[in-house]
């Protein structure tokens, strides 16, 4: 799939921001006073900025409000509702905590659930697609939630839990990559079923429909060279997990903490680039894709 910068920015930033909002809602990060204000501002900037960047992906962003109508069937519509209600509930919770000094735990808990629900809905947009076997698996929402929770823990300054969660997530990510590599071949879809001609012999594309590209090949038949994919996986693991954990194990300081967060965010962005770039859409079989 085409790794659109707006989608990578959206899922990286909003994942971190919603993870931090969940921590704030659960009372696992300081919510009162100036510290609370800084935490809330950071969380809303990340989550809100990410959601705004997702609108850049649309052909007609001026019609975006229509996306709230189909929550009964569409995960994208559910994501829109969850994102808006999560931000509204958390804004109320933040205003009460900072302006009036009143912390309402049930409201925070609801906001945390809605924040993580938004991350889940985002992941389900991808996981629901049978056409992309690498994504069509329960591990996709599990990973997205894991990244949001680990990132939120890191952002809220829990050194010990963050180090443990990041280490666990690196193992989960490696397992997801290894399992994902085999999923296209295991899906049962190939050029034989795509053409229905598999029973007659070995099928290959003789001639594409046209000499140039088209929307489908640009959007869904994106290819990433495998040796780059391996290098990028290593870079993602180092930036997202190894470097932040190393910084966390050093004596704590604000500069080191900021560097750990920046490194983690950069690593997640690389991971999200791979999430799209490595995902194989079955329409590729009509355009000459072969199983690895």
């Amino acid at each position: 799939m085409h790794p659109a910068p707006s989608l990578i920015a959206f899922s990286t930033l909003s994942g971190l921001g919603l993870g931090l909002l969940a921590m704030l809602g659960l009372g696992l990060a300081p919510v009162a006073g100036l510290t609370g204000l800084v935490f809330f501002a950071l969380a809303f900037a990340l989550a809100g900025g990410g959601l705004l960047s997702s609108a850049l992906h649309l052909g007609h962003p001026e019609r975006a409000l229509k996306a709230f109508t189909q929550w009964r069937s569409s995960w994208l519509s559910r994501e829109a509702w969850l994102a808006v209600t999560a931000l509204a509930v958390m804004a109320t919770y933040a205003a009460l905590a900072i302006l009036a000094g009143i912390v309402v735990p049930p409201l925070g808990g609801l906001g945390a659930a809605l924040s993580l629900g938004t991350v889940f809905a985002t992941a389900m947009i991808y996981a629901q697609l049978r056409t992309v076997p690498r994504w069509h698996h329960w591990s996709t929402p599990a990973l997205f939630l894991g990244y949001a929770i680990a990132g939120g823990t890191l952002l809220s300054g829990h050194v010990g839990p963050a180090a443990i969660l990041l280490a666990a997530m690196s193992a989960a990510q490696i397992a997801a990559w290894v399992a994902g590599d085999a999923r296209l071949a295991a899906s049962g879809t190939d050029i034989a079923t795509a053409t229905g001609l598999g029973g007659r012999g070995a099928v290959r594309l003789f001639e594409p429909p046209h000499t140039g590209g088209n929307y489908l090949t640009h959007e869904m038949v994106f290819r990433v060279a495998r040796r780059h994919a391996v290098k990028l996986r290593v870079i993602a693991l180092l930036l997202a997990f190894a470097v932040p954990v190393a910084f966390l194990l050093l004596p704590f300081g604000h500069i080191l903490a900021a560097l750990a967060v920046l490194s983690h965010a950069a690593g997640v962005a690389v991971q999200r680039w791979l999430f799209f770039a490595e995902a194989e859409h079955v329409v590729g079989f009509y355009y000459g894709r072969r199983l690895p």
């Binding site: 052909g59 994208l76 079923t193 795509a194 001609l197 012999g201 099928v203 929307y215 959007e219 079955v282």
Partner: protein
Amino acid sequence: MTTLPATTDRKLGLVIDLDTCVGCHACVIACKGWNTQNYGAPLADADAYGAEPVGAFLNRVHSFEVQPGDGPAQIVHFPKSCLHCDDAPCVTVCPTGASYKRAEDGIVLVNEDDCIGCGLCAWACPYGAREQDPVEKVMKKCTLCVDRIYNDTLPPEDREPACVRTCPTGARHFGDLADPESAVSRLVAERGGFDLMPEQGTAPVNKYLPPRDRDTLDVLAPLLPPVDEGPKGFLGWLDRTLERI
């Protein structure tokens, strides 16, 4: 709503004969022509005379080579457009309700005024039947020429999809696949029509007819008696005369 109808009264669709298609791409051009000049946003081309031309099409013809274990390879021309699936995944993912399947005839359509151009329906379709128009930025797809098939201002013979009407070899057939007695349903039954990617669970309405076997030799051919025992007439005289020289 972008929920699918439980059943549709009719299942209008295409039956495409892979045995007959010669890969002339006339259906591609007829489709582009009709759907550029009639209902909805025109099918645009971008950089049409430049280095990287790209454009929106609702129908494209691929060509595949099939190599059997023994015997010569066969080229199969393969027109591909929207299959108007019963369980259309492009419809349920749509966040705005722009994408819908009609309960009366099963045609899957896009209300372009409601489309936000998110492209998720194109991701959900395994067949590549949906493309975003490069100029209008809305999703385009085969309408089964809904503005032809019910169009009383057209002569009756023209009330079928442009691709079917134009096909010079009769490789494309249009009809109601819910009616077992319709011409298309009988064709599917007789010729063993099949679904594309049945494992994707989309239950496509359009069917494809397999190519017939070609280039097979009769195994008894070497044992048949020779047809021409000896030349007669002028050739016989020539044969005898040349023999004498």
